[in-house]
Symmetry: D2
Subunit: 299 residues, 4 copies
């Protein structure tokens, strides 16, 4: 009954890297949060404190900066693939590398109605994400977005649910449905030459449109329809995962004040919240391997 | 040398109020964070625990909801004025009321290129703000915005500054300048019939345009020019305050790797940050009274 | 190549539940954040919007409250086990339930040097955690703690690491080592009658003592020794996972000011940070199943 | 009706400075967040972009580090006074300086029941604060604490309050009272040789004891009694300000489940919350000047 070293990984988290492209007077801005994690032959570092196989996390940070100098990290997917492959190919003890990138949104400031050449405004809260895994046997690209806050003021019901002794919820045919969506989708072939930015934009459009147009009987149903539509539209996507907090908006009871409240005044509550997670998968999708294991994933 | 009760106020903070307007099929959404504070004859509550003059904070919350039912809180300024006046006029012990509102941005979701009737996406991080003070002698309206994140990739220098024995900073003629702007501006006459939404939009445009176009020798200079321009354009504004963290973007030193870095790769640092605060004022502006004292202001 | 529903779960997250025990005049306080997630036969809810199998998340919240009324949730593990078993045993479509609990620390206020009967002070930032999985085939208890911030001012080195072309880090024999520790450990037999509170306290002591006393050649080594010691001391623990951000403390360069700085003045940096994750496992440990899959885990 | 430059200040915010004292093998740890702001003759920087009077915020950071090397910043008050005086005395254009310090709590780790020589655990969430203003005419020291979370499970009522048409709150004779206290107190004579650490500890004890022992008829009453007691005990304190969010704990209604709930199970709500602010002042206290104007105070 020996005690042995189990799964382990290490890396540099949240390198806040900004890349400016100076095409003459009209600049471009790429604003990233980059995290890298390495997996491999690091047993001696744990067992004996022998660091000979350990590339410092400080070096991982340097590498991200140098990579961003050599290649503009846009789209983030191909840049992160290159960075992850470098760690696996060029650093002997590394058998797998995980690179995760968050890209913050910016738009050009307008001056006198025209987009300005070098001034930008942060957009959000939505963030675009990429998670790359390069392993000994497989390479995975998981694209995504998070903090996409969506709300519909009607077109959502919740009724005919399971009722037990502790159920007090009343059914409703018309409620606000709101969420802060996290979506991630895995591509079958990371080297298929996908137009990463175009694909991300298209998936986002599909998600938003189906959230808007499906008359929802439950958030579960909405998620499934959003996910299925993405897979239908993008044959190259093997699976998609959707995580959606149900951001409750409660109709305020104004009857004590003789005020009607026909779904007009709501309290947006913080906690607790429902959390619904669902996925759509191709039934012949290749095994995901470590595609879903984040750099924080061994906690 | 007696010990006496000093300044005091109390209220309900951060009521998360969402108001939906159902004009047929095309809905409108107003998403607010409302805080109210009352000032007045509450000495007995402190000194003896006598609550007879104390309108519960729970009632302040109820009142905000009822007010939002009766009047759509858009623009937020006139709605908050009405709410504050109610507390002062209708609740005997209240001599002054402070109402602060944050309004979160939403835009309509697009479906097939058309704005959807009842589905919305959160925009941001920018938030629009209003701070109303109704007192025995004066009424103040302070409009504002916060978390407007601006960045320019060139057109900013910092040189010829004061150098003492502990100065190591090198002058620069070209740097990234970035901030998360908070701006608040006080109107001379809250009852002048100002188009609050139009004014807020116009001020925002002025701020963004001057941030973009001034070749900046210092963030101080930029703030002053932004503020002065707002006052020049809006005769009804008595003063404007600008608070701007200098969100440092440091050029990464790539010389150890024989990589040039001509202002292309930056590290966006978290802390510490510079904090620059400046204001522009009309020299004949009436006294601000409690206009700048927030509901959190006695801490 | 059909598109099918993949993994899914749903529940109520972050119910902030406080339980007071009134043993005469001396009260006890249990302050919890409870999240529940159900897995099971919910396909129809996704595919057709048919909610007949769906116990509302609102009911899950009610259930947590009722459970806390019937049984004081201390220790959190046995209480959460009971709650999870209720969902699986009593709610037909539920095949597995996940219950996660955070318990916030409080100590009695002192008055005139004596612990007070009913007044408490929050302690922290450390939080005690439990994650229970009750499935069709197995029951898992993962105990843990998070946000335990540890720092040693000496007794930590980092040298003789792998150096590549992009490495600029200098080796050091003496540095500050600091982390905000997350630790989770899985028990082999959830029904062995473990003294949960005693065990959690003992594991914590072991972790802190080994962090303090090991002369560390790397954070990896420290984590391994901490984890191994826990397993050596607690035969009932099958595995332990440790996640440790390397909270960098950089020696400030004071040489421009002719000031020596013999490891006395440091800058505590925010981002980026190293992130080291390691685990110790018994080589005959039974399969973990879903023990490590959190209620947020399908994102 | 000219537009003129109004109030302004600038500085370096949130320098995270850690100072280690190495008295042989037994080390001491001082963990600070330092913010400085300068006020003075900086008009040209705003109006013309002329930086000749502007000491860079980077230099302010350097200065904090050098000051911490030369003098251990414990107590924080005397150290911050020295730093602020340096800016005013040694930097010509500076007429006033504000230095604010947050000190994070740490305790020694225990190993085999004994305090360890160089390993520490973070305590909290409570933070000790100091705010120093050195101006042309006066020097102010405001000591404080924040995030001291207090809760009493009984001994608090709220009844006989003002009731208007929109009041629905029911009176109660027994409720949970909880807050996250911010307290700040201004000393009459910053150079009186006050034992800053001893005084801070004593004030804290007084605050906690009066929170615990007063049978509270309202949070207002509790704050007043806490504040008055501090001034009674410390003749050197001119005034104290207390800011207390009412962290609502609502009794959960379990009657639908035929469960009694005699103040045992509560929901700890997030928002909205009451916010009560009160102060106790000596009636002969000298004018506070800028003592209460923080480095963020012009927003």
């Amino acid at each position: 009954m020996a005690i042995v070293l189990g799964p382990h990984q290490y890396g540099k988290a949240e390198t806040r890297l900004v890349r400016v492209v100076r095409n003459g007077e009209r600049h471009e801005l790429v604003d990233l949060n980059v995290s890298t994690a390495l997996r491999g032959d690091f047993d001696a570092a744990h067992l004996e404190g022998d660091q000979r196989n350990v590339l410092p996390t400080d070096t991982q940070k340097n590498t991200a900066y140098v990579w961003a100098r050599r290649t503009v990290p846009d789209p983030i997917e191909s840049w992160a693939l290159s960075l992850a492959r470098h760690f696996v190919d060029d650093v002997e003890p590394v058998s797998a590398a995980r690179v995760e990138v968050e890209r913050f949104g910016w738009q050009r400031a307008e001056v006198a109605g025209e987009p300005h050449a070098h001034t930008f405004l942060r957009t959000g809260p939505e963030v675009r994400t990429a998670a790359i895994t390069v392993g000994p046997d497989a390479v995975h690209v998981v694209q995504g977005l998070k903090d996409l806050v969506l709300l519909k003021t009607t077109g959502s019901a919740f009724r005919d649910f399971l009722v037990d002794d502790l159920t007090t919820l009343q059914p409703t045919d018309d409620r606000i449905m709101a969420t802060s969506l996290t979506a991630r989708w895995r591509w079958t072939d990371p080297d298929a030459g996908t137009d990463w930015n175009g694909a991300a934009s298209s998936v986002r459009t599909t998600l938003v449109e189906h959230f808007a147009t499906l008359h929802s009987l439950a958030l579960q149903q909405t998620l499934w329809h959003m996910g299925r539509a993405v897979l239908e539209r993008h044959p190259g996507i093997a699976e998609i995962r959707l995580s959606a907090p149900n951001k409750h908006h409660f109709v305020v009871d104004l009857t004590p004040f003789d005020e009607p409240n026909p779904n007009e005044v709501f309290h947006a509550d913080d906690r607790p919240y429902g959390l619904i997670q669902a996925s759509a998968v191709r039934d012949d999708a290749a095994d995901a391997g470590d595609a879903w294991l984040p750099f924080t994933g061994l906690a």
